[in-house]
Amino acid sequence: MTIRSFDLLQPQSLAEASDLLVKHGDDARPIAGGTTLVILMKQRAVYYPCLVDLQSIPGLDGIFEERDGIRIGALATHRAVERSPVVRNSMPVVAEAFGKIGNVRVRQTASVGGNLSHADYRLDPPPALLALEAEVSIFGPKGSRAIPLRDFFRGMYETALEPGEILVDVKIPFMPEGSKAVYLKYSALSANDWPCLGVAALLAKDNGRCRELRLALGGVAMTPVLIRGLEFARGLNLSDAVVDEVLRKVDGQISPFSDLRGSEWYKRQMVRVFVKRAIARLDSGT
C-alpha cells in the first residue's frame, strides 16, 4: 500500500530531535534506518503525522574502538556492524548476530538503534549483546543516561525509553580474557525465516574448567532473556551433569509462547538442544 502523507522533520542535533518528539507527542516517532517503521506505515497498521529523521543528525553512525570496548552508533547499519573489522576482530559474535538478520538488503538499510528500540522478542542482536553485557546510551529531555541493555527491554515492543528519549549508541565491553562466544540462530522453517529461537553463549575457561559462562536467548519470552545464576558453574568442568543444571536454570527463566515458528512445547525442546550445542561448541575448542 502507499504511505499516508506525513512530514519528515530533519533535526540537526539530538537536542533538537528530542524537543521535536516532546513537542509532537504521540503524533511523532523517530525514524532511524526505517525498515520496520516504514513497512508498518505502508501497511497502514500505524500512522504518525511526523517522523523525526535521525539520519539528518551527524555523527550517530560511527563504530569506534574505545579503551574498554566498542561503541556502535544507533544509526550504524546492521551491514556496517557485520562487516566492521574492529567488531569482527575483537567480538566476532556481534558481527555474526547482526549478519544473521533478514537478508543483505534489510541489513544494508536497517539500523542498530532501530532494531533495539523496536524490541521485537525474536531479534538476533539482543542475545549476543546481552551475553557481552552491553550498555545503551540514551539522550532525552533530561539529558543523557546510560543503562545496561538487560534493563532496556521491558516487554513486547516496550523499552525503557521515556517520551522524547532517543537511543544514541550501544557500548559493548571487550570480552573477558581468553573467552569465546557464539550465536546460534535456529530457523525452523525456511532458511531465511525469523528465528524460532536464538542462543548466545560466552565461555571463558581456565585449565579446562569454566571460569565464566553467560547465556542469553531470544524468541522464548516477551523480551530477550539474560540467564541468571550461572555463577555456580565457575571452577567446574562442563560435564553432562553441570550442563543439565544449566538447562534446568534456563528452563525456569524462559516463558516461551506458541508462535508461527514453534509451539511452546517445541521451543522448550529446542532451547535445550541449542543451549547444549552452544556450550558444546565453545567447550570443544573449535
Binding site: 500500500m1 499516508r4 501497511q43 522453517l189 525456511s190 508461527l260
Partner: protein, 784 residues
C-alpha cells in the same frame, strides 16, 4: 532427433533479451492519460451481512472519481453482478453479504493510489456477523449452515456441462467413481490399511501480482490489458457479465510475471471494467501482496484412503477426498473432477471407490494451483503406498512397479492408458538415487533415508486451442495464438514447431502476444495443455500454408506435391535439393506482387467421453497423461526434527521434448517450488482470519533451501497424436514431491507424517510419540 532441424534443440528462449534488460512489457507498466487507480475495502469478517455503508466523506475527498458498492453494481443495467467459471457465485463487489475475510466490499477509483487508499479509510461499513463455516469436515454435514443458499452453474466450459444447480448443501460438486466391488474385496482382504492425509491451503505467489487495466477506446469498445492466463475466457466472461457483444471487447495480455494457476478465469477484470464503464476513464488496479493472499489459493484437501491387500497385491482402494474450495467455487469443480478420478493412482486396482467433494467454506477462494489438485491426492495415495509396502515387507520401488499400469491397461476410470511412461519414470528415479545401495548411518543425532513416490495427472479434456499462422513473402512468419507466455516457454515452443513445419529458421518466427481481436479461442494456458493442444494447432495451421506453397511449387516444377519437402527456407524435391524454389520465389510465383501473405488456421479439439455421473467410467477420460516420479534422500536431525534433502531427482514423461533444456527446467522448477510447499508453506487461519498473510511470515523456498544435489530427468514416451510426439511438462515435477519426502523420512526414522507441511516440529512430535510408545511397551513387557 537427427531428422529435425529445430525440434529437440535446446534453443534459447525468444523472450530472453527483453526480459534480461528489463525492457519487457508488463501490464503494470502501461499508463494512460487521466488513468485512475483503485483501492478496495475488504471484509474483516468471514461471514456477515452488510447492514450499512457510509461513503459520503470518501466521495467528497479531492481527486476521488468514484466510491463503488456492490449494490450499485447490481443496479447497473444489463449487468450480472456475479461471475465465475463453474458457478456464477462470486460478486464483483459483495452485494448483501460477505463470505470470507478479504471479500471485496467497496472500490475507490482516484487520481492516484494514495488518494484512493486515503478515501478507503473514510468509508464506514456496518456488518452483522453470521456463523462462519470454517471446518471442512463439518461443512459437508447436512445440518451445517450454508455459505450459499443457491448454486448457479456458469455453463462456460464443455467439460463442466454436467455441473448442476445443487441441493441445499455446501457441497457444490461431487465426483463419484465406482469400479468393481470394494466392500467384497475389503471383506476378503489379508490386510486393510486406513489413513487420513491432509494438505493445507497455500499461495501460488507469482512474483507479479494480479493487475488489470481497462479503458474505452475511440469506438467505445472495452479494451482490457490484464495479467491473465485466459484471454479468451476473460473476453467471454466480460461479454456475459456486462451484456456486451464479444467483438466490442478486446483483451490483450503481455508476458506474465508468473501465473502457476493464480491468474486464471476472471479476477480483477469485472470490477475494473465496471469502474471504467462508469467513470469513462482508464482504470488500473494492481493487487498488493497482502491482497494476493486474499484472492486465490491452493485447495486445502483432506483425504481418507482405505486400501485392501491380498497375497501381496492391492485389491481395492476407497478414497474420500474433501476439497475446501473457499467462499467461491472458482474452478474447484474441475479440479475435484479431474484430480478426483486419479485419486487411486496409476496402479492396477480392480475395485475402486472414489467420492471427491467440492465444498464451500468461508475461506479465501481456492482454484487451480500448479498440479491442478493432483499433488494433494498423490500426497495421500503415494504416502500410503509406502505404508502398505513396508507393512507387508515389500520394497517400495518393486511394489510400485508391480502395480503400475502398462500401456493399454485400464485406468480406474476404465480408460486404457496410452503413452504412459510411469514404469520408466520409476526406474529412472530409483536408478538415479541408487536405490539399492545400503543406507549410510551417520554418527550422532542424524539419520538418513531414501524415498520414492510415483503418480500421474491427466490433461483436461475436452479443451480447444485455435491458431492462425501467417507467412509473409520473405519467409518470415507471425503466429497468432492466445497461449500466454508466463515463463514456461510456450512462445519458444510454438516458434520451434512452426519453424520446423515450415522449414524456416527459429528466428524467422514471431509469436504475437494474445489479443482477442486477432488470436483465436484457446481454453486456458494451464494444466500443461499448451504444448499438445496449441502445438498441434500451430503446426496444423502452418501445415496449411506449406500445402499451398507446395501446390505452387509442384505446378511450377511439374512434380507431385507429395514429393516435396520444406527445409532451410526452400521447397524442393525430397533428395534433390537443387530441384526447388526459395519461399520468396514461391510467393512471387503465386502472387506476382511484393509483400504478400499466406494464412493458415487450425483448431485442435480433442474429445473425451464424459465420465458417467454415477460410476466415473469413461472409455476415454483424457487425451494424455503426465507420469511422474520423485526420489529423495533425506537426513533427519533427530534432536530438532529438521529435514535436510541430500539428493533429489525429479523424473517426468513429457513425450517428445520439443526443447529438452526447457523440459528439464520445468520439471525441476515445479519440483523445487513444491519442496517449499512440502516443508514449510501453509496459510494459517484463526477463526477465518489469515494469520500469516505477508512474506514476512509466509515462507517461500529461497536459494538457501535447495537440496545438496538435484537433477531432473526427462523421459520421452512419444504420444502418437502430440505435435512431433510431445505432450506437456509444466506441472509434472510438482506432482510427487511431498510423498517422496515423507517416504524418505519414514525410511530414515520410522515415523509417518500425515499432514503437510512437514515441519521440524511435526517430525519431532512424531519421533517423541514413537519413543514414548516404545518405552511404554518396554515397561509393559517388564511388568508382564
Amino acid at each position: 532427433m537427427a531428422d529435425f532441424a529445430v525440434i529437440g534443440q535446446s534453443v534459447y528462449r525468444k523472450d530472453a533479451n527483453s526480459k534480461v534488460t528489463g525492457q519487457v512489457l508488463h501490464v503494470g507498466n502501461i499508463e494512460m492519460p487521466a488513468m485512475l487507480h483503485v483501492a478496495v475495502l475488504r471484509s474483516p469478517y468471514a461471514h456477515a451481512r452488510i447492514r450499512r455503508i457510509e461513503k459520503s466523506k470518501a466521495e467528497a475527498l479531492n481527486s476521488v472519481a468514484i466510491v463503488l458498492t456492490g449494490a450499485e453494481v447490481a443496479q447497473m443495467p444489463g449487468v450480472d453482478p456475479y461471475f465465475g467459471p463453474a458457478f456464477r457465485d462470486q460478486p464483483i463487489l459483495a452485494v448483501d453479504k460477505v463470505c470470507f475475510v478479504g471479500d471485496p466490499v467497496i472500490a475507490v477509483a482516484a487520481k492516484d493510489r494514495r488518494t484512493a487508499e486515503d478515501a478507503l479509510q473514510l468509508v464506514e461499513v456496518d456488518y452483522e456477523p453470521l456463523p462462519a463455516i470454517l471446518d471442512l469436515l463439518e461443512a459437508v454435514k447436512p445440518e451445517s449452515p450454508l455459505v450459499h443458499e443457491q448454486h448457479r452453474p456458469a455453463k462456460a466450459f464443455a467439460d463442466l456441462a454436467h455441473v448442476k444447480a445443487g441441493q441445499k448443501s455446501n457441497i457444490c460438486y461431487q465426483f463419484k467413481l465406482r469400479r468393481g466391488d470394494v466392500d467384497k474385496a475389503f471383506a476378503a482382504a489379508d490386510r486393510v490399511f486406513e489413513d487420513t492425509f491432509s494438505s493445507p491451503p497455500a499461495q501460488h505467489l507469482p512474483m507479479e501480482p494480479h493487475v488489470t487495466l481497462v479503458y474505452l477506446d475511440e469506438n467505445q469498445r472495452i479494451n482490457v490489458w490484464t495479467a491473465s492466463q485466459t484471454p479468451s475466457y476473460v473476453r467471454t466472461e466480460l461479454s456475459n457479465t456486462f451484456g456486451i457483444p464479444m467483438n466490442r471487447i478486446r483483451v490483450r495480455i503481455p508476458y506474465l510475471g508468473g501465473g502457476y494457476g493464480a491468474k486464471l478465469y476472471a479476477k480483477l477484470e469485472p470490477l475494473v471494467t465496471a469502474l471504467a464503464l462508469i467513470t469513462k476513464k482508464p482504470v488500473r488496479y494492481a493487487l498488493t501482496r497482502e491482497e494476493e493472499f486474499l484472492t486465490i489459493t491452493k485447495h486445502k484437501v483432506i483425504t481418507k484412503i482405505k486400501t485392501a491387500v491380498k497375497n501381496g497385491v492391492i485389491t481395492a482402494r476407497k478414497c474420500e477426498v474433501f476439497w475446501d474450495t473457499g467462499a467461491y467455487a472458482e474452478i474447484g469443480p474441475r479440479v475435484v473432477h479431474k484430480s478426483g478420478y486419479t485419486s487411486a493412482g496409476p496402479y492396477r486396482i480392480p475395485n475402486v471407490w472414489i467420492d471427491s467433494y467440492c465444498v464451500y467454506t468461508n475461506h479465501v477462494p481456492a482454484g487451480a494451483f500448479r498440479g491442478f489438485g493432483v499433488p494433494q491426492v498423490i500426497w495421500a495415495y503415494d504416502s500410503q503406498m509406502d505404508i502398505v509396502a513396508r507393512a507387508i515387507g515389500a520394497d517400495p520401488v518393486e511394489f510400485r512397479l508391480r502395480h503400475a499400469l502398462n500401456e493399454g491397461e485400464a485406468f480406474a476410470t476404465g480408460t486404457p492408458v496410452k503413452s504412459f511412461g510411469i514404469k520408466e519414470a520409476i526406474r529412472q528415479a530409483s536408478k538415479a538415487i541408487e536405490w539399492s545401495k545400503p543406507r549410510i548411518a551417520p554418527a550422532g543425532s542424524k539419520r538418513r533415508g531414501k524415498g520414492i513416490a510415483a503418480g500421474v495427472k491427466a490433461v483436461l479434456t475436452p479443451s480447444i486451442s485455435g491458431a492462425i499462422v501467417m507467412m509473409s513473402a520473405d519467409g518470415t512468419v507471425n503466429v497468432l495464438s492466445s497461449t500466454v507466455e508466463m515463463g514456461q516457454g510456450s512462445e519458444t515452443m510454438m516458434g520451434q514447431i512452426v519453424a520446423e513445419e515450415l522449414g524456416v529458421s527459429f528466428d524467422q518466427v514471431h509469436v504475437v502476444q494474445p489479443d482477442t481481436d486477432i488470436t483465436p479461442y484457446d481454453t486456458i494456458t494451464a494444466g500443461s495443455r499448451s504444448t499438445y493442444h496449441m502445438g498441434n494447432a500451430v503446426r496444423a495451421a502452418a501445415g496449411k500454408i506449406k500445402a499451398e506453397l507446395f501446390q505452387v511449387v509442384a505446378k511450377k516444377l511439374e512434380v507431385n506435391p507429395d514429393d516435396l519437402v520444406a527445409q532451410r527456407g526452400r521447397i524442393f524435391v525430397r533428395g534433390t535439393e537443387e530441384r526447388g524454389m526459395t519461399i520468396s520465389e514461391a510467393f512471387l510465383a503465386k502472387f506476382g506482387s511484393l509483400g504478400t501473405t499466406l494464412t493458415g488456421e487450425a483448431i485442435c479439439q480433442p474429445e473425451a467421453i464424459p465420465t458417467d455421473p454415477e460410476t466415473g467410467q469413461s472409455e476415454k477420460c483424457t487425451e494424455y497423461w503426465f507420469p511422474s516420479a520423485t526420489t529423495a534422500e533425506v537426513e533427519v536431525d533427530t534432536d530438532t526434527g529438521q529435514v535436510k534433502i541430500l539428493q533429489f531427482y525429479s523424473v517426468g514423461d513429457t513425450g517428445t521434448a520439443i526443447n529438452p533444456k526447457h523440459c528439464e527446467q520445468q520439471l525441476l522448477g515445479s519440483a523445487i517450488t513444491h519442496l517449499g510447499l512440502t516443508l514449510f508453506e501453509e496459510m494459517i487461519f484463526d477463526e477465518g482470519q489469515l494469520v500469516n498473510g505477508s512474506l514476512l511470515d509466509y515462507q517461500v523456498a529461497s536459494i538457501k533451501d535447495l537440496p545438496d544435489s538435484f537433477r531432473s530427468i526427462v523421459v520421452e514416451v512419444p504420444h502418437e497424436t502430440g505435435p512431433f510426439g510431445a505432450k506437456g511438462v509444466g506441472e509434472t515435477g510438482a506432482l510427487t514431491v511431498s510423498a517422496a519426502i515423507a517416504n524418505a523420512i519414514q525410511d530414515a526414522i520410522g515415523v509417518r507424517i500425515h499432514e503437510l507441511p512437514i515441519t521440524p516440529e511435526k517430525v519431532l512430535r512424531a519421533l517423541t510419540q514413537k519413543k514414548e510408545k516404545a518405552a511404554l511397551e518396554r515397561s509393559n513387557e517388564n511388568d508382564a
